[in-house]
């Protein structure tokens, strides 16, 4: 394909995915999708290769091919839409519900539309479906294997969730996004198969050229997720010519907690790290995936199998996989030091209301300058809840919301500072914290110092990284998020 048609085709197919994403955000009802944009949309070819993705949130990056493959294996027909959230059959964690629609032009399936959205409740042991203490998948909510989305299936789903009306509206938004792709593809007047091949080949060329510029070698790094004991992650990233292999040999087996990650989540974190190392210009589609080889020991906590609990694998382990791979790649590429490496999930609620928030922290410093303070790093980029909105909606008062001075690591360039957010509950409630980097600090690079680990406190007493407990009226929850690592030795 010539350079002009290629450019126009790239823009057209990316435009279809972006418009799907816009429709999804625009027509969704829940604030988690509408405001926090915890959703993604992508276009696949008839063989299940990803062609284009609307980029909203990195944790969904490249994690949907498994969903489409799982549906294709079951023989979908034109006119159907399939639904799934089973982490062991194409999903990531149960709140992420994925819809896959075969797109038929002229009666034949020519492509697939795929949309994924974080639904703020899918049943299970706690409101919000993000339990801190689950040990098996059944406690985390309703499991939907890949099935046709029929009226009956939707009824079963809605009967199992706490907020069925909002779920129904959000599902309708996902269907609308997928259906839009069919109309847009028909309008494109492009030879579709040729267009898909060209766009994928383009991304693969860009990825391979960028990889070829990295020095060959085997780069190792280690990290951990904090439970009562540490759960180790080991990674070896091998750059060989224009390929990258990422191997998690030596990583812990799955654990009896909810930090296990299915391979699709691990893959998303790896793709994120590679894209950061290669530069933001490299497009994300099957062409990039083709230049990567990702392996993990079967049954390890980064390739968890049924019936492991996985809900925090998506939020916390994905972060640690991403910043461990980035740490390894730091010896081959000019990447920033480690950021806070956690989403600091904070859930406070009763049977009547649920407040869910993730908190930003310090980003790592880089050769280009200091790390930004008080931002989401890695696999999330969602917005905070304004204090005035929070206090109008919930019986809580925010006592403090500031940057934690000096929590970023020292260095020629300083790591970004973490945040302190202090909340007083005005009536009895339940607190659930799923956080990390409370014992282990984000590391600096090139002689830069580590960031300060975070802390969780209730009424001034330290509580662990992962904790669930009751709160009395007047209790104060303080979350201090980690600072980012510094870059470069501090000049004496």
């Amino acid at each position: 394909m010539d350079a002009v048609t290629l450019s126009v085709t790239n823009a057209a197919l990316a435009g279809v995915a972006e418009e799907m994403g816009t429709v999804l955000v625009r027509s969704a009802s829940s604030s988690n999708i509408k405001e926090r944009r915890d959703c993604s949309a992508a276009l696949f070819d008839a063989t299940g290769r990803m062609v284009a993705q609307a980029e909203h949130i990195p944790v969904h990056l490249g994690a949907m091919p498994e969903s489409v493959a799982a549906v294709i294996a079951r023989g979908p027909q034109p006119g159907e839409t399939w639904i799934l959230n089973d982490p062991f059959a194409g999903g990531s964690h149960l709140p992420d519900i994925t819809l896959v629609t075969p797109l038929a032009l002229g009666g034949e399936i020519r492509a697939y539309a795929c949309s994924r959205a974080h639904h703020s409740d899918v049943g299970g042991m706690v409101p919000g479906s993000l339990p801190a203490a689950s040990t098996s998948i059944w406690q985390e909510g309703l499991i939907v294997p890949p099935v046709r989305l029929t009226e009956e299936v939707e009824q079963i789903l809605l009967a199992n969730v706490r907020t069925p009306e909002i779920r129904r509206a959000d599902l309708a938004a996902q269907v609308a996004a997928n259906r839009l792709a069919e109309r847009r593809l028909a309008e494109l007047r492009l030879p579709l198969d040729e267009a898909f091949d060209a766009v994928i080949a383009y991304a693969e060329r860009r990825a391979r050229e960028a990889i070829a510029r990295l020095p060959d070698g085997r780069y190792e790094a280690a990290g951990e997720v904090e439970l009562e004991v540490d759960v180790p992650i080991r990674v070896a990233v091998t750059v060989a010519g224009d390929r990258i292999e990422i191997d998690f040999e030596g990583t812990s087996p799955a654990v009896a907690a909810n930090v296990n990650a299915p391979l699709a989540v691990t893959r998303a974190a790896c793709i994120f790290a590679v894209k950061v190392a290669l530069g933001a210009e490299v497009p994300v589609n099957h062409g990039l995936f083709a230049a990567l080889d990702i392996r993990a020991p079967e049954g390890s906590f980064v390739d968890a199998r049924h019936p492991s609990a996985v809900v925090a694998g998506n939020t916390e382990t994905s972060q640690r996989v991403a910043d461990t791979v980035l740490l390894a790649l730091a010896r081959a590429s000019d990447v920033p030091a480690q950021g806070q490496g956690t989403m600091n999930n904070t859930v406070i609620g009763t049977s009547a209301w649920t407040y869910y928030e993730t908190l930003g922290g310090g980003q790592g410093a880089s050769s280009r300058g200091d790390g930004p303070s008080g931002v989401h790093v890695g696999m999330s980029n969602t917005l905070n809840t304004p204090i005035e909105a929070l206090e109008l909606d919930f019986p809580m008062r925010v006592e403090r919301y500031e940057l934690l001075d000096g929590s970023g690591g020292d260095g020629r360039h300083r790591g970004g500072d973490g945040i302190v957010r202090e909340l007083r509950v005005l009536e009895p409630a339940t607190l659930s914290l799923v956080t990390d980097r409370r014992r282990h600090a984000p590391q600096g690079l090139e002689g830069g110092g580590p960031g300060r680990p975070g802390r969780n406190l209730v009424n001034g007493e330290v509580v662990p990284a992962k904790a669930t407990r009751g709160l009395a009226a007047g209790d104060v929850v303080t979350v201090e998020t980690p600072g980012g690592g510094g870059w470069g030795r501090l000049e004496p």
Partner: protein, 640 residues
């Protein structure tokens, strides 16, 4: 008020003027003087042969506030806020600037940490939680006094509901620091969401000194275009400088809406393609679409602003081949200096303007703005640098090496125009399809130096059947200024109080009651007419989001829009059709001898119409004629 009504738009490169003298449009275009915007106004008046004393109303569009914000050259200011929340301004909404470029910093806050001071106090939804501590107020005032600032912003939590503490802090500051401007968030924007309210208040304090000084120096006293698309007197504009940051783009959209309205069209997409950037917007029912959710230069400003979408591509955008082998246009631009290669000012990179010249759409030897002469040979040389063998779709039988420079440049030019058109179409989809508006029923109003060249092919891409090219397309922003109504926006408090304020500020103005409403549990609002707001909310929700929601609606904020109509210019078409010339142009794969018309002619495509300040390409299957105001109205005669 007697005298001539004049609009003057001071842009980065040119200062444009439109005046209505005895029903006749007088236009002028003079170079802007960097750093001395006001001097461009007198130069433009002189160029138009107008006596400043004869000017009744001078409406002015300015980039002074915009540039101060973009370049972070505003005043040194302080912020006073609630203890425990000093960094709300810096944390923002916690999102990072770029998903994958982790080293990309957030834009620096307009007030650095050492100039953010706190007072001990707390209001909650129900009122006082912690009483205002007088000692902490004294400390804060002393700290501000010692900081040597030109202005100070005050934003305390929940002041939009309970302003008493904020007012007391403001009074203390005003009493102690008579020379320092004090902006209170409860006066400026009594709306919830502390970060956005604080950011708007801070932007206002930050821009106030520069904009006030600038406006004070202009004679005659102008009306100033606000971002909302309405003009205001100097005192109002100087008090709300953050409401003027989109002054320039707003004027263009108002001008386009005005011209479309003269032709009886209320629903249009506006397409303003200039040298380095392109602004697109939607106009529905004759109303410029405004939003209160704009972010300008990384700073949220919650004043109503024209909902304009800007992309960094224009006539000066540079074409290049990326390492994956795709032809790209922009974001790098040749700017005004050295400009496109064909300007002959030393630019060597191939640009969109070079491509339009090589294709014959612009005339070789044409003179732009009285000082630049287009040179086709330079354009060819620049375009031929692109690796043409990668660009050509149908490979000729002879080897490409045998192609001469002209053939290579031609192949490149066709590609550059196709790529830039795809980008423009994408921008137009953002302000239409993505806002729930079907572009197919709308007309496209094309202006700016390069807009009318690309309008027909964009219309084809979007399924739009009608294109309007205003006679004054090169100076449409200035026309928008001459045509704009006086407007003031009020927010918060009761309708009655806001109406009383409007009667005081703009005697005789029409007022409209609006509410920001939502369904309980949602965290986003829609602005709708207050009368029958529930039905309006349901309707708007369906239009924007595609469905109705069976939930309890609630009002979040009350607004009042006050508009004082000004006498509108009614330009007449005085251009007389002249015998067309012709020149070769490359259209749909072949060289055709295409008629070249001046303004005022009825045309059948393919044709070229040369207007003052712009050139229009009428593609095959398009035809049209000027309307009574001189706007060229093109319709698609046949859809392939």
């Amino acid at each position: 008020m007697g005298g001539i009504s004049v609009g003057v738009d001071v842009g980065g490169t040119f200062t444009d003027l439109v005046a209505l003298v005895d029903g006749r449009l007088v236009t002028a275009k003079v170079p802007s003087v960097p750093g001395a915007q006001a001097s461009g106004i007198s130069a433009a008046l002189a160029a138009a042969g107008l006596d400043a004393a004869a000017v009744g109303v001078l409406a002015h569009g300015t980039t002074v506030a915009t540039n101060a914000l973009l370049e972070r050259r505003g005043a040194r200011i302080a912020l006073v806020t609630t203890e425990g929340f000093r960094d709300v301004l810096e944390i923002g909404r916690q999102d990072r600037a770029s998903l994958y470029d982790l080293a990309a910093g957030k834009p620096a806050p307009l007030v650095p940490r050492e100039l953010r001071f706190v007072v001990r106090e707390r209001m909650g939804p129900e009122g006082v939680v912690v009483p205002l501590d007088d000692a902490s107020v004294r400390d804060a005032v002393e700290a501000v006094a010692g900081a040597g600032v030109e202005a100070v912003a005050v934003c305390l939590l929940f002041s939009f509901l309970h302003p008493e503490h904020e007012q007391r802090v403001g009074a203390a500051l005003r009493a102690a620091l008579p020379g320092v401007r004090v902006s209170l968030s409860c006066e400026l924007l009594p709306e919830f969401r502390e970060y956005e309210r604080c950011s708007t208040t801070v932007a206002n304090a930050y821009l106030a000194p520069a904009l006030s000084a600038y406006l004070e120096a202009i004679e005659p006293r102008p009306l100033v275009m606000q971002s909302s698309g309405g003009v205001a007197d100097v005192a109002t504009a100087a008090a709300r400088p953050a409401a003027c940051v989109l002054s320039g783009p707003a004027a263009g959209v108002v001008g386009a809406a005005f011209v479309a309205g003269l032709g009886g069209l209320g629903d249009v997409l506006t397409f303003d393609m200039g040298g380095t950037s392109t602004d697109v917007a939607a106009v529905l029912g004759g109303e410029v679409q405004v939003t209160a959710e704009s972010v300008v230069a990384g700073v949220p400003i919650r004043f109503p602003m024209v909902d304009v979408h800007t992309i960094g591509a224009g006539g000066g955008s540079i074409a290049w081949l990326d390492e994956g082998g795709a032809l790209r246009v922009g974001p790098r631009s040749a700017g005004a200096r050295p400009g496109p290669a064909c300007y002959g000012l030393g630019g060597e990179a191939p640009t969109v303007t070079d491509a339009n010249l090589v294709l014959g759409y612009l005339a070789d030897g044409a003179v732009l703005g009285g000082e630049v002469t287009l040179d086709r040979e330079l354009a060819e040389r620049a375009l031929a640098q692109l690796p043409v063998d990668e660009l050509s779709q149908e490979r000729p039988t002879s080897s490409l090496r045998d192609w001469d420079l002209t053939q290579r440049a031609l192949a490149a030019a066709v590609g550059v125009v196709r790529v830039v058109d795809a980008e423009m179409a994408r921008a137009l989809r953002v302000v239409s399809v993505e806002r729930g508006i079907d572009p197919r029923g709308l007309a496209l109003v094309a202006f700016g130096g390069a807009g009318p060249l690309h309008a027909c092919s964009l219309a084809e891409e979007l399924g739009v059947e009608r294109v309007l090219v205003p006679l004054a397309s090169g100076v449409l922003s200035a026309l928008g200024l001459a045509a704009a109504d006086l407007r003031r926006d009020y927010v918060g408090g009761s309708f009655e109080a806001m109406e009383a304020a409007a009667a005081r500020d703009l005697p005789g103005a029409e007022t409209e009651r609006l509410v920001d409403a939502r369904y309980r549990g949602q965290s986003h609002e829609l602005t709708v007419v207050a009368d029958c707001w529930q039905a309006n909310l349901a309707e708007e929700h369906e239009r924007r989001y595609g469905f109705r929601l069976d939930a309890e609606p609630e009002i979040v904020t009350r607004r009042l829009l006050a508009t004082l109509r000004r006498e509108r210019p009614s330009p007449r078409n005085e251009a007389r059709s002249t015998e067309p010339r012709s020149r070769p142009a490359f259209v749909d794969g072949e060289w055709l001898d295409v008629p070249v018309h001046g303004p005022g002619a009825a045309v059948i495509g393919p044709a070229i119409v040369e207007l003052p300040g712009s050139t229009c390409l009428v593609r095959p299957d398009w035809a049209g004629a000027p309307d009574a105001a001189g706007t060229l109205v093109l319709e698609r005669t046949w859809t392939r």
